[in-house]
Symmetry: C2
Subunit: 294 residues, 2 copies
Amino acid sequence: MPAEAINTKDYLGKNKRLVEELLNQYLPSEDEGPESLHTAMRYSVLAGGKRLRPILALAAYEYCHGDLNGQDLPIHYAMAALEMVHTYSLIHDDLPCMDDDDLRRGILTCHKKFGEAIAILAGDALHDIAFNLMAMTNSIQAVKELAQALGTKGMIGGQMADVEAEGKDITEKEITRIHQRKTGALIRCSVRIGAILANADQVLLDELTTFGGKIGFAFQIIDDILDIEGDQKLLGKNVGSDSKKEKATYPKVVGLKQAHSKADRLIQDAIAIFDDYDDNILKNLAQYIAQRKK
Amino acid sequence: MPAEAINTKDYLGKNKRLVEELLNQYLPSEDEGPESLHTAMRYSVLAGGKRLRPILALAAYEYCHGDLNGQDLPIHYAMAALEMVHTYSLIHDDLPCMDDDDLRRGILTCHKKFGEAIAILAGDALHDIAFNLMAMTNSIQAVKELAQALGTKGMIGGQMADVEAEGKDITEKEITRIHQRKTGALIRCSVRIGAILANADQVLLDELTTFGGKIGFAFQIIDDILDIEGDQKLLGKNVGSDSKKEKATYPKVVGLKQAHSKADRLIQDAIAIFDDYDDNILKNLAQYIAQRKK
């Protein structure tokens, strides 16, 4: 195994543990009221997952030489916030009137386990607590970045377009726009927030924004590919569900082979943003996204 | 009609128009994509309503001598944000798995008009745009206040407890806790944000916090009373629905007569916070809440 691969695996393992600790710390306890809601929130957030968004934020922060000394750092609040909004979006997307999924991260979806009312409120509460955490960074810019990435020009707009595209024939341009918003916006925002909290200058921020946009788009294409080729056990969710729901996916629009080469090209373009000799964890994370099986 | 009453009516009328203008300006256009989502958001937000929360924020801001010169003032962003989160909460509360209401502000509820998927996403998007607007005040404290008022210790916690209390016998202490969170927290937060944006000192902020807490609690008791005694046409929603759903309400727990006197006492206590000779619009708004028929 090349040194680089070990390095990435260690980095992911170490920081996945950090994210779990932060989430556990910042989520309200199940012993505090409203117990049922806190239990549902913790169930969905602490169910595992790659924790990619907070890890990308941290990697961007480190790349921009952000300070990592001390406890309760702004970047830590931001990392927890990013994973919480991601989980909120999954809980709402899984609802019967949306994607109607029963399985997520290998366990029952929130509404299957706790009922729809609690699932909707748990999502709302995570959405909210994420903004409180992001405000605790004391960076008004970070709060704005998050709100804009989640809004109708970002994630929610993408989810809406995704629901509306079901069963329809759409173009490559349209599926690109859906993916860039549905998944790409939050991933790009994670990278940007890491850079912003590290006080990156505009040139660096622009570079990382391009990087984040490319890996975010690639991530969703690979997600679509895994729904066709993936291993249900590894993924922790049902495969073949996109096709069953007649969802608009990248492989459906351009074919599986083209989808693979598009994802590869995006990852190569993302990596090319950095100097050839500049070995860094962001490059490695882009490669991890390209090779992921879950 | 006494001079004071005319004054309040004019103040409410003028500032309701201001709120409508701000909402119209800050909501995304129906012509921009995703059109269906923007249409649903505008439908629910622009359906009328008392606009009490933004007007209270403005009144508190004025009471604390906040600057009103210029366009696109921080207080204007905050006012629009407060009304948008209020509407988001109504859209989600009206859903079939929650209160299952068909009528709101005299028209069909969002999910009855546009379906559940769009209603959930429209609520999510309003929740989100509200944080973007609040961040545009450039006051990180205002963002934190909003997030905390909406969270599991505030509005969502109250809504959860409200759903769980249906069909159960609860105590006066419990219904008080539900009301203080479900409705009280956002009303108190509106008053506090007005004061914070006007740079009020701590003594004044504490006074207004007590005032906001009392009128917020009174507001929900009167809401419960109007569901029994109110005029359906004036209210724009079905009356008797609390009793049909076996909801825990203040009149149900302590009796109608006691509920009336509790609301009166809270409003008198709220007014008593101000000096006897200090005629101000906050006093008048408290009286308006006590006398409201819708």
